[in-house]
Symmetry: C2
Subunit: 177 residues, 2 copies
């Protein structure tokens, strides 16, 4: 698709997918919404290579979706956070969640995250409807609670990633000798 098409089109989908129309960007936004902002955590949880992740983060930063914040001066380390523009991608993530849970995931698998209505504390239905307030809850009134099974999956992924990093480092040292 040419940039001209994108710049001149009135279609908001053309514009939004020009910025987050790929899987990695979506998975990065998912992680940042979960509060995972460090490079290695992002890499572990998305499964992206460091080159891929680095390129996507740079692009998301240039597009005003992500910002960097220093969390260590020596050594200099950043973590990534969503800007207001990035945070407003939450409804896109929620819509992908609803569809994925309902139409794609194997039957019987537990929901990764249960969503609750901050206003009344009830668990929301998959489409965001509150059974107590009898209305759709806006995303700003939602709070997510990850399922234990999903937390375990994430923990395992983080551990495997760290182990692999260590192995790679040992391999590099051995080949230096």
């Amino acid at each position: 698709m040419s940039d001209q098409y994108e710049d001149q089109s009135l279609c908001p989908i053309v514009h939004s997918t020009g910025l987050v129309g790929d899987r990695w960007s979506i998975l990065i936004v998912r992680e940042l919404l979960m509060g995972q902002g460090r490079f290695q955590d992002l890499q572990a949880q998305t499964g992206a290579t460091s080159q891929m992740l680095s390129a996507r983060l740079k692009r998301l930063e240039a597009d005003g979706i992500v910002e960097r914040q220093t969390y260590s001066e020596k050594p200099l380390r950043y973590e990534y956070r969503l800007t207001a523009k990035g945070l407003h991608l939450m409804p896109v993530i929620l819509a992908l969640r609803t569809w994925g849970e309902r139409w794609v995931k194997p039957e019987g698998a537990p929901a990764a995250v249960r969503m609750f209505h901050r206003v009344c504390g009830s668990e929301l239905e998959l489409d965001g409807n509150c059974p107590v307030c009898r209305r759709l809850a806006p995303w700003t009134e939602m709070a997510g609670r990850p399922d234990e099974a999903w937390l375990t999956e994430r923990k395992t992924r983080a551990e495997t990633f760290t182990e692999n990093l260590k192995k790679a480092a040992c391999g590099a040292r051995e080949s230096d000798q």
Copy 2:
């Protein structure tokens, strides 16, 4: 990302973006939601090459999102339609629309599509809120009305596409001589 990661993850975003985690698929779904189901129309409006479009449609069909229906026997011609699974991607498209209109499109550009609440006829706010019913309207209660400027953009795109096809056909005939 390995298939193993995808198959085994509980995350619905991993599953949904495994099927529609690219821009072309999203733009195809947008067109099918607008009732454009013929190959050349899809090509004209998405800007995809015929190879790209063909590959994406095959994949969407294999994933149960799109189905083919014969509209001409001689010559044999199909048009594409969304299945129930595909139709339920509407909230994803709507969320990308809201974000694109609010955060990405140049200021002052008119909304491509105005959304109305079928229940009361009112125009919905950009986040889907009905100012009359004072609640978020579910997508199943929404009706879209494309803006004139966007219809003109689409018409121009269709005409340009047809002209280019004719030119290409003439070029091919000339080079045959």
